[in-house]
């Protein structure tokens, strides 16, 4: 502790002495004459305000230039190919790897270099020989029946938003989260997704087949029992005619209380 002085039995001050020290006028004058802080002056706010407005408009314009999601990107495929839709903002390497079997296909695909030009053709070869009913993350071998006569399948680039209990991103109550499946719309069914969360043993990323959060994952989350943010990504859905859609990711804040 810093130096302390001890006084024993110091004579207490009388009220008269203390009252004689009062000088409110001096206090008032000091406050009135104290220089105003720069940030409280009007011209400061005027200058800062204008600069802020200019920065906001600039950032807004910048974001608009990168936003190509709404544009139609039609992917026309050859026979024995599937129609795959990938929104521009999801066109990262991992997403592409899900759709292609070789690096060459990856490089020639329409999904590598954003922004995607309209009506660019893509070669997406699907392994139709596989009789597996499983879906795998790293190669996305999707056994489907392909019509022999080729047909151009044009899919509009309308972004599809998956939801759990009506929530696509943001806060969700635990009771809503654990008892629900991922839903898109009546025309598409979720085939596969990745879920990233924190369990008692650390961070986990699990690939789930189907559209329901598995009971094991639910159990792990319940064991942690604390509010956390989970990510559901690489969501692949299929239509009744087996058109695949790669959907927007979900960021959910699970609330236990």
């Amino acid at each position: 502790m810093s130096k302390i002085k001890f006084n024993f039995d110091r004579k207490p001050l009388s009220e008269d002495i203390i009252n004689s020290k009062q000088d409110f006028q001096s206090i008032l004058n000091t406050v009135k004459n104290s220089p105003k802080k720069t940030w409280t002056k009007y011209y400061y706010f005027g200058t800062i305000g204008l600069a802020g407005l200019a920065a906001t408009i600039g950032i807004f314009k910048l974001i608009q230039n990168f936003d190509n999601i709404a544009d139609e990107t039609n992917v026309t495929l050859k026979s024995n190919e599937i129609t795959v839709f990938v929104a521009d903002h999801l066109a990262d390497e991992k997403t592409v790897q899900l759709a292609f079997n070789s690096p060459e296909e990856l490089m020639s695909s329409a999904f590598v270099t954003p922004p995607i030009a309209k009506s660019k053709k893509a070669n997406i070869i699907c392994d139709t020989k596989s009789d597996s009913n499983e879906l795998f993350v790293d190669t996305l071998v999707i056994p489907i029946e392909v019509e022999k006569d080729s047909k151009q399948n044009k899919v509009s680039c309308k972004p599809a938003v998956p939801v759990i209990a009506g929530v696509s991103s943001g806060n969700i109550k635990w009771e809503d989260f654990k008892s629900n499946t991922i839903f898109v719309d009546n025309d598409y069914e979720i085939k596969q997704f990745s879920i990233q969360y924190t369990s008692k043993s650390g961070d986990r990323t699990i690939v789930v087949k189907g559209n329901t959060i598995s009971p094991e994952i639910i159990k792990e989350l319940e064991q942690v029992g604390m509010n956390q943010t989970i990510f559901i990504s690489n969501i692949i859905s299929a239509s009744h005619s087996n058109d695949l859609k790669h959907l927007l990711s979900m960021e959910l804040n699970i609330l236990f209380k």
Binding site: M1, I4, F6, N7, F8, L13, I18, N19, F24, S34
Partner: protein, 206 residues
């Protein structure tokens, strides 16, 4: 309950009871009147005068209790009220007297004065009152006990010493201590008890 009895017994050894600070514990009407003054002062600083007049003495005593220089205590007290008036627009009523807010400003200004080496931190002790909370403080061995007490108080952490001063030297209630030190009343009570035990152990150790 047990803690209260323990401390109460110590304080009543010589039949003296702990008087609470009447300025702090006010009626609802007094608090309401304070609020009126504060709201007026927010609009016009000159309306701060009644508050200044009401709290000048307790704040001055609080400051002087902790330093040895009368003029310096006056300067620090003035600085406290200047700060209070400059920031009155930020004040929000939280169901407790305005003095709590003033004491917090006072604590901050005092610490600043000590840090800037403008004042030496002083602990002023009334030896007649020490035996109320330290049983073995015998007046016939005063000089020896004074030395022991100085050592014991110096061994405490700053926040512990502060609590001892507020509770046992200045006779403030736990509620008031809680408001000044920004803790709950119960917390102030428990901490006072623990620090007192620590002080007594140090005092009685060889």
């Amino acid at each position: 309950m047990i803690l209260d009895i323990h401390i109460a017994v110590n304080n009543n050894i010589k039949g003296k009871t702990m008087h609470v600070n009447s300025v702090y514990h006010q009626s609802d009407s007094a608090i309401q009147q304070e609020l009126d003054w504060i709201n007026k002062a927010k609009a016009d600083p000159s309306h701060f005068a009644p508050l200044y007049k009401k709290y000048f003495s307790p704040i001055y005593r609080y400051v002087y209790q902790r330093m040895d220089d009368l003029d310096l205590a006056n300067d620090v007290t003035s600085q406290i009220f200047i700060k209070a008036l400059q920031n009155i627009h930020k004040y929000e009523f939280r169901g407790v007297p305005f003095s709590s807010w003033l004491y917090r400003i006072a604590k901050s200004e005092l610490n600043q004065a000590f840090r800037d080496n403008l004042a030496i931190q002083t602990v002023n002790i009334d030896t007649q009152k020490i035996s109320q909370f330290i049983d073995d403080f015998e007046e016939d061995e005063l000089e020896e006990n004074k030395t022991k007490l100085k050592k014991a108080l110096t061994a405490l952490k700053p926040e512990e010493l502060q609590l001892i001063e507020l509770r046992f030297f200045e006779k403030r209630s736990f509620k008031e201590i809680g408001e000044i030190l920004e803790m709950t009343e119960n917390n102030a009570k428990v901490k006072s008890f623990r620090i007192l035990e620590k002080l007594k152990n140090i005092f009685n150790s060889k």
